[in-house]
Symmetry: C2
Subunit: 281 residues, 2 copies
């Protein structure tokens, strides 16, 4: 099958570095599996040149949209002429849409993906007392998405106390019962690690699992390994656990809706099949 | 085989319109056949926004280069911080290279491809009296490339007399015996149609073949149909003929050298095989 021709449309992803991102493989396999003549293409751009890059991509008429990854998410939000409600609350943006007048609108779908993954697995978020450990871009997105999904309260923690306090204050402003809490699971029934702890073999546990009830949900944003020590500790207590790739997989649907892409089956099963077909073709 | 990942490098092609261009298929098939993780990606940009596009692409660190097609070749030359000698003589640029300091250098390889095709077919250009009909961007590139390849003289014709006169004057300035001639083959032994005549079924012949000698070479830039009425008329007189796709195919080698791409077998046979493999994969 032909990979690309003059009529191919482009979904960009910009970051620094970029070689490690999975979006080009995932989206391109999805497009091909669905007969859509489009590819997801990586763009390696450094922070100092990002504004020129955004202005340049804005002129490309066959652009489907632009995914923004580390470290450019805050800059993307500043550069966008408008933001979705959730992006305005969270701060950074991780996907940009070209409007008819050529301006960019930014959205953030990190947290939506995490919530969507839990709901798809039959889990309830409404009424839960949540703890989100890590108040960086991803942690902020998750905290607001959990609040929007009806959690009773959302407490937060960060190694940088200012970041956690700022997030708790913003959640409270948005009408969510919130506060700072130590990184300990006891007393919470939806506990999310949104810190990088767990990626390295000798990392300490990001959250103390003591007192974690089997009715609680444990979630991690770390993608490798799939089963982090934090998730293992929760699973051994009988909790429902959700690993990092679920959030990533479920972002596809939210991005598709925001970008107005051709209708694709973006379910994790369909994505897995598309990528398998691609690898074996 | 995986089509694209985060480490994929990008050879862009920019034009308006863009859907009809063949470069994305050809280059991408070549890269894949040679195990190079790169794709040629189309960018549809209109003239008013071209400057912002060039400034934006300039920031992309995984960009291999940028091919420029109609109608942006003259603008590309104006935008480039520097030009190769042949691009400076010809005027427009059809390929751009990002230098280490982030600026663009422009080159033009249309004419080089035509000359390279003739030489590869065992034809001699040195000493020939050439006529080039059509003094647009492609005609100009061809006229200078033929002169550089040692033609005894290069006469030119265009439906717009000013364009032909300007080209003849520039050729003369560059030390080539030149002048204006009517679009008639008699007295020439390398006769090139660089006009669009022959693309449509009811087009008149671009060049009067009366008196064309069998030792003459007849060349066309028209790609579809492969055998134009002009080439048919020359072939029926026993002349060597070269159709438009040969020029396009042979540009690949010149572009590869200019862009410093990984070494690829860009011969037309290798390209044909790569595209066939792609279509049947």
């Amino acid at each position: 099958m032909k990979v690309v021709d003059g009529a191919t449309r482009v979904l960009g992803i910009v970051g620094d570095p970029i070689a490690q991102v999975r979006s080009p493989e995932v989206w391109s396999a999805l497009f091909r599996a669905n007969g859509v003549n489009a590819l997801c293409i990586p763009f390696h751009v450094n922070a100092a040149e990002l504004e020129a890059f955004f202005a340049g991509l804005q002129t490309v008429q066959n652009l489907l949209g632009l995914i923004v990854t580390i470290p450019h998410k805050p800059a993307a939000a500043r550069y966008a002429a408008s933001l979705t409600d959730r992006a305005r609350k969270v701060g950074p943006a991780n996907v940009m849409r070209r409007e008819a007048d050529g301006t960019w609108t930014g959205d953030i779908v990190d947290g939506v993906g995490l919530v969507s993954g839990l709901l798809a697995a039959g889990q309830r978020i409404a009424g839960r007392r949540a703890l989100v450990v890590g108040s960086g871009g991803v942690g902020r997105a998750i905290a607001f998405a959990i609040a929007d999904a009806g959690a009773e309260s959302v407490h937060v923690y960060d190694v940088l106390p200012d970041r956690a306090e700022d997030l708790a204050a913003r959640l409270a402003e948005a009408g969510t019962q919130s506060g700072i809490a130590p990184p300990a699971a006891k007393g919470f029934d939806l506990v999310v690690n949104a810190s990088p702890l767990g990626m390295k073999r000798d990392d300490p546990l990001p959250i103390d699992p003591t007192g974690l009830d089997e009715s609680a949900i444990a979630v991690d944003v770390v993608v490798h390994p799939e089963m982090t020590p934090w998730l293992s500790a929760a699973a051994s207590r009988g909790c429902h656990v959700q690993s990092g790739h679920v959030m990533t997989d479920h972002q596809l649907v939210a991005m598709q809706a925001f970008l107005g892409l051709p209708t694709l089956d973006c379910t994790p099963a369909a994505v897995a099949k598309a990528m398998q077909d691609e690898a074996s073709s």
